[in-house]
Symmetry: C2
Amino acid sequence: MLAEGVYIVGAGMTAFSAKLHANKTGRELLVEATWEAVKSVDKGITLHKDVEALFIGYFTPEYYEHQSHIGPLAATWLGLTPKPAFRTEIACASSSAALFAGVTAVASGLYDVVLVAGVEKMTSLETERVTEALALASDDLSESKVGATFPGLYALLAQAYFRRYGATWEQLQRVPIKNHYNGSLNPKAHFQQTIGQMAEKVGKKLGVQYKDELDFLKNSPFNRVVAYPLRLFDCCPISDGAAVAVLASGRAARRFTDTPLRLLGVGLGTDNVALQDRADLTSLVATRNAAEAAYRTADISPKDLDVVEVHDCFTIAEWLAVEDLGLVGRGEAPRAYEEGLTGIEGEIPVNTDGGLKAKGHPVGATGIGMLNEVWHQLRGTAGRRQVKNKAETGLVHNVGGSGASAAVFIFGR
Amino acid sequence: MLAEGVYIVGAGMTAFSAKLHANKTGRELLVEATWEAVKSVDKGITLHKDVEALFIGYFTPEYYEHQSHIGPLAATWLGLTPKPAFRTEIACASSSAALFAGVTAVASGLYDVVLVAGVEKMTSLETERVTEALALASDDLSESKVGATFPGLYALLAQAYFRRYGATWEQLQRVPIKNHYNGSLNPKAHFQQTIGQMAEKVGKKLGVQYKDELDFLKNSPFNRVVAYPLRLFDCCPISDGAAVAVLASGRAARRFTDTPLRLLGVGLGTDNVALQDRADLTSLVATRNAAEAAYRTADISPKDLDVVEVHDCFTIAEWLAVEDLGLVGRGEAPRAYEEGLTGIEGEIPVNTDGGLKAKGHPVGATGIGMLNEVWHQLRGTAGRRQVKNKAETGLVHNVGGSGASAAVFIFGR
């Protein structure tokens, strides 16, 4: 258990986008996200006076910006110099590691107020080079070196799942259909259209009428195969973005707001990086271990959750996540999705912000981007995507690579 | 103050070398260092049973090993999967960030026993590419992009210092002469010879007799200018290596040893990354802030230290460090070094292990490598370089880049 309580007293993020931030640097994105976080603090905050340290996730700045040593650089741009700052890296869960570092730093008693942040400025490279940068998260000696890319690795997970449970690609399409719908309700999302809206647009251009969203996903030349069985709409996009949160100790939290979120549970987990070294491809050990630790520290069960953010870098990843988090049983995801269990109006809303699929996935920003959604849902400020009956408890689940690492955080009002 | 006490119950490291590890990967170096750490635990430790999480510093694995996502990869190689693991980065102080993450994780009450590690496998690249990888720690927009390299940046610091205090390059040579002497007493050091021994060897080859070490450093063609006024022997070498420590809570420490080291103080600091954005080039703000925090949490003053490890990536950095840590006053380093204050037999022994200059500087391993030296000096196992009168209190000082970040840790018996 944590020696001291940790609270979230502010959160902010940029829009996630492949276009909006084309001419900005990562440091500028951080300033934009932080400014929103500052404005979100009910009773106000003065960064250079109140914040004592900065922890920041950024997966591959070396490739995107020919830059490392991101901690002090970001500190300067946020007006925090000479305060402590360093970077954390755990592939696509890099900002969850920053959140973890911030949580333990506050719980340790060393600081009362810290900033945690995540950023990735991906569109500075061509898609092929982005794919290469992402491949650094796989095992160089057995995966990336022989040409494996992440769509390919997740395609293997999908194949294994389909085979074991007799599930189909058609069933899996409930994931992008739901997430694009949710994204259409989120002004910060990378994609602002439902798949139905896209089907209509594309259909008009091609002189074809798609009878429904599945028909479009199945038959449009637009939805080409990326790595069988995964097609374009099974993959999240390449986005630029940043996300920030302000953490405070119990002593300090009330200085900033009367309605902070409380961190209830925290867990991290790992697995072998290379798929060939895993015992089972239909479940992520790292997620199961992270979830077990988070539920244990929070002393709650999956049934108690009102809103859940999971790591759907590829559609199959969302199915694995809801099973590994215990929201549904093993092999039950296809049926649960057919029944709409995870829709905004469903029993356990999952990825109300559009998920990585539609909200976007600026790798290093994703974990704290998810926390931003829980922040809004639990405070009742999620606008058109607000879940019914104000949410009391929310969970964030962030995965690194093809599942070699995972982080789970649980927050309550 | 930290809510819970944190103790060091084991430490290990590989030799630092440009030759010994040519055919090893970073993960293999980690195994080697960890194995020594395991053997150092007085009452024994079983990694997969006792260790709850891993925090690991590695500055630029993307360049050296075409690999990121080092946390779970290292966890697998150390038998720790599926336990939590992530990487920290703060340039040349990356493993000090790992140590910090481990310290706060234990002090937070979340874990009782964690492993902290650092590694850098540098010799896989040619020197020019290593220089480029290191340059990622400077500001891309104003330094590396226009061709600034680290010898050049530190040369500017040396020029500023010489000008302000009327100090000379000749006076500065006390640093490499001392550190190579210390390195000659350390079987793990990259360089095993005193500068006197090298002078004799080189002299024999060239048919020249150097009258003393300074004569050799000044007049040997071997000691060429790298970036004026810094010459080859003002620069640390490019090394491969790894270093590890085992941290435990007060509850757990006695299970492993009756004589743990206790963490007394901790501090991190930052400064603007680009030299052009600094107010003063003769002192590092980041070090001063980190030291102030560390002395405050430890509630001691520089006078109480028995052994000190400082970040001498270039000779001038050692002078700046001893001043910024308050071991001597501003501008007093030249005289202090002439008087031998920082020798093994001196009043405040500095870099008894040879420092970065002679022990080597596998970037990500350096901070925890320094902790290894304090571990031995405080336990009286430093062999031929053991300070007189068993040391009670030791300090580690680790810098990132040209001083944009710094970490200071103080340990006691």
